[in-house]
Amino acid sequence: MEDLKQKLKVQIIEALNLQDTRPEDIDDNAPLFGEGLGLDSIDSLELMVLLERQYQIKVEDPREGRKILQSVQSMAEFIQSKQPA
């Protein structure tokens, strides 16, 4: 799980071109939108694309997406739940 979260942080920084942000600057449980990283609605679409490209997971329900994209922790938990045991 820790490796996955670390990998996710690197992928988020790269996908969203978060200049001056390092993986260690992102708290596992900090909100990605609003006060945390300050991401916006276009970033949420980019994160959906990231899940599809990197983990082959397609999020069909937008309401489900809101829960998944709350934090790095919630994204990692979701990815892990979709991976074969």
Binding site: Q19, G38, V49
Partner: protein, 350 residues
């Protein structure tokens, strides 16, 4: 057109150092190679980091030039935003098309698609300045900027208080390669300061983002008056020869009244014959400074307005200049885009 049109503010990001500093003291930027790229400013002074991270080059160039222009003019929210672009954001277009191929039309990133649309720069300016007024982008190849200018002049004539008018285009290595295959560029590699020593088929490529704040009334700060504009699409040699004196006559001028012609001469022997209409006029070319692209007319207008405002030429940019013109009241710009879209623009000192 009866209404008057003055340049109240302007800004330019081009292959020369045109964004800030004393124009008359800036040395010519010499590029070895047939693709001139812009000297880009520090965008962080104009655009928030959170917005900047998503923007590609031409968006940053266009937005920054427009904001600097508004600063220069003292206008915060213009009465209209009208621009022209030949290609829009090429970087985003190329990225989007490559991703369609790489990901088999699935899992496509929305950002390059959104930003590849031609009106993306206008949208960014409107958002940044909270401007909900008229907003339009013209995409008409070599007439893109000229149509934006014509629309702006019509808006001023109809009573709009001020208009932000601009043009932006970029070149990428991929697009340079594609246009090279249809013969746009010279086969031999040259540097821009030696352009006119190489008359041969093709020219050198360029790019730029140039914005103007236009108003119907003159002030002490005004750079110049835009006196006239005419566009001719694929004119016959006879029509082009007749068009120039007619254009001047329409504006109450004769050939002798023109103090300087800035010509789009670009050492391309395929289209050099068009410039024969300027025989006898005092003239200087400008494309060794900018390269050639669809909206280069905006750079020519910026240059003419600077010359009229300063009442002198930046002689370090024009090594072919024998002596400064005795007077600088009326400048004519004649340009064409690869022989198809021809434009006359007339500027007066204020």
């Amino acid at each position: 057109m009866k209404g008057k049109c003055y340049i109240q503010g302007m800004a330019a990001i081009t292959p020369q150092h045109t964004f800030d500093g004393d124009l008359m003291a800036q040395p010519m930027v010499v590029t070895h190679g047939n693709m001139l790229s812009c000297a880009e400013p520090d965008y962080k002074s104009f655009i928030a980091p959170n917005s900047l991270r998503r923007m590609t080059r031409v968006l940053k160039m266009g937005l920054t030039a427009s904001l600097k222009c508004l600063q220069d003019s003292g206008i915060a929210v213009p009465g209209a935003i009208v621009t022209g672009t030949g290609k829009g954001s090429l970087q985003d277009t190329e990225r989007f098309i490559k991703e369609i191929r790489d990901y088999q039309e699935k899992a496509l990133n929305p950002t390059p698609f959104i930003q590849s649309t031609y009106n993306a720069v206008n949208g960014l300016i409107a958002l940044q300045q909270k401007c909900t007024q008229y907003n339009n982008t013209f995409v008409h190849r070599g007439f893109s900027f000229e149509h934006a200018l014509l629309d702006s002049m019509l808006l001023l004539h109809e009573g709009t208080a001020d208009v932000l008018t601009g043009a932006f285009d970029e070149i990428t290595p991929e697009h340079f390669f594609i246009k090279g295959r249809i013969g746009h560029w010279k086969k031999e590699t040259i540097s821009n300061d030696k352009l006119y020593e190489h008359p041969s088929p093709g020219t050198i490529s360029g790019e730029g983002a140039v914005f103007f704040a236009l108003t119907p009334a003159v002030t002490a700060q005004s750079y110049a008056q835009i006196g006239g504009l005419q566009m001719l699409y694929k004119p016959s040699p006879e029509k082009l020869h007749a068009a120039l004196p007619e254009f001047l006559q329409q504006h109450g001028l004769q050939a002798a009244d023109i103090d300087l012609v800035l010509t789009g001469e670009n050492a391309d022997t395929n289209h050099a014959h068009y410039y024969e209409i300027l025989k006898g006029y005092p003239q200087l070319p400008f494309k060794h400074l900018s390269g050639d692209y669809e909206t280069v007319g905006a750079f020519a207008m910026w240059l003419a307005a600077q010359i009229l405002k300063h009442q002198q030429l930046p002689s370090q940019w024009f090594p072919m200049l024998q002596q400064q013109p005795a007077k600088l009241r009326n400048i004519l710009i004649y340009n064409h885009f690869f022989g198809e879209q021809h434009t006359f623009m007339l500027l007066h000192a204020v």
